[in-house]
Symmetry: C2
Subunit: 233 residues, 2 copies
DNA sequence: TGCTACTAAATTGTATGCAAAAATCAACAC
DNA sequence: GTGTTGATTTTTGCATACAATTTAGTAGCA
């Protein structure tokens, strides 16, 4: 009766592998352009090729891997064109998430977002980039969650995943950082007023500005960062 | 030298299968809720389970199939909640496509869309629903193409695929049909003026109206139609 | 040296085999 | 008639085996 194995994995191997491989890509263990040799990964992860290959097909379909017939998989890379392509779509989705969030946000959720906002503002004044980025992301995530639309969430996260293939800090200028912080003030006040249309417009512009920042970092070959994935705002 | 086989399929079996299975779902050969027995499909398609299973995983990730651990795959079904969830996202994407199309549309492309529009108007006045639907779809596709954003296209088409799981005509009322036609007049004129913001708003509203129509058809259990997938406007 | 042709090794694509889990069904008790 | 138990069949998950394709490596030659 006393099973010392997993309580109940209740998941298939290939699903786990999808998650693991995603993490390996985001963490930089697998870098853009790298080949993904099946056998080597199988040995490393202790599974056979069958479930691994199933996972590769899924990630290929998501755009995180590039699958070349008879020539294996490569971690996808991001071009400037890709960035210019993906951000507008993210912008449209984030704008929608803002609008829906305004319609559905509870007071408790708003309070939490406000708390994160002020914490983030503190990091901004102190010039602490990394924790700023983390809170920034949590805020956007909270808004997305508040939209109460899993399909929207999934689509958005798929795009975030692709953007994370570009793994560098945006070397954000002081001006851009201040600007971003100002945009976040507007985001918070639109949220508080539950003004969906207003928030939607702000977020759309916010994402367009992000695009420019990331694009520039890409051009300049921004500082690579280990293990955290891309951070931007 | 004279190979009488395929010129060169240049594609893997699992990719073909993804396409074939999608078609089988859209055509209604596989209906929502149906189990997808691996062995039976393998015999039917003349392939082994390995590539088929790879395809199933991909379609599961796309939301066209529901994958239950140890219990196989089922063709996904669409609930009212799903419709309410998916259409707003499609609306945001279609609004973006309109905006980008206005920025990128060539005169030739516009001319073609206008031609399709008038053809569609003709079918409307004649009360020919099926060809109306077809042209309607072609017009929206042409706008999407004109946006010149493959990522947007892919995301949009994934959602259209899920909506197509609901396989019935929207029993469109005369009023709604007239209204839809009027919206299409506005779409055409905004396109001609290359007024992105305007078109974006029209399309967003247009999709919200579609949502209501489809939702109602769903509620009323609209007339099922064989082989064409869902049609709506 | 640089190029081509050919061979061998490695890697991928597909099929098959086997163990584990679920579904089916029949006998039985109530 | 209903519901439960347990054996049998079916189906799925994963591993392995084999075939096909690509890659690498080497020898031959200009």
């Amino acid at each position: 009766m006393n099973e010392m194995t997993q309580p109940t994995p209740r998941t298939t191997l290939h699903e786990e592998l999808v998650g693991k491989l995603r993490e390996m890509i985001f963490s930089g263990e697998l870098r853009g352009g790298d080949r993904v040799p099946e056998q080597k990964l199988c040995d490393q992860l202790g599974v056979s090729r069958t479930p691994l290959r199933e996972a590769l097909k899924v990630l290929g379909n998501e755009g995180l891997l590039e699958l070349l017939p008879n020539r294996g998989a490569r971690v996808a890379t991001l071009s400037e064109a890709d960035i210019d392509e993906i951000f507008p779509v993210m912008g449209a989705l984030e704008a929608l998430s803002g609008e829906l969030a305004c319609a559905n946000l509870t007071d408790a959720e708003f309070a939490e977002i406000r708390a994160m906002h002020y914490q983030m503002a503190l990091h901004h004044t102190r010039g602490e980039l990394a924790p700023y980025f983390q809170l920034n992301r949590q805020i956007h995530d909270a808004i997305l969650k508040a939209a109460r639309n899993p399909t929207l969430e999934a689509q958005y996260n798929a795009l975030v995943g692709r953007i994370r293939l570009a793994r560098y800090w945006s070397n954000m200028s002081k001006e851009r950082w201040d600007q971003a912080m100002k945009e976040h003030e507007e985001i918070l006040s639109a949220l508080e007023a539950r003004d969906g249309k207003l928030l939607s417009g702000i977020l759309s512009q916010h994402l367009e500005n992000k695009r420019r920042t990331v694009r520039q970092a890409f051009r300049e070959g921004g500082t690579e960062v280990q293990g955290t994935g891309v951070a931007y705002d």
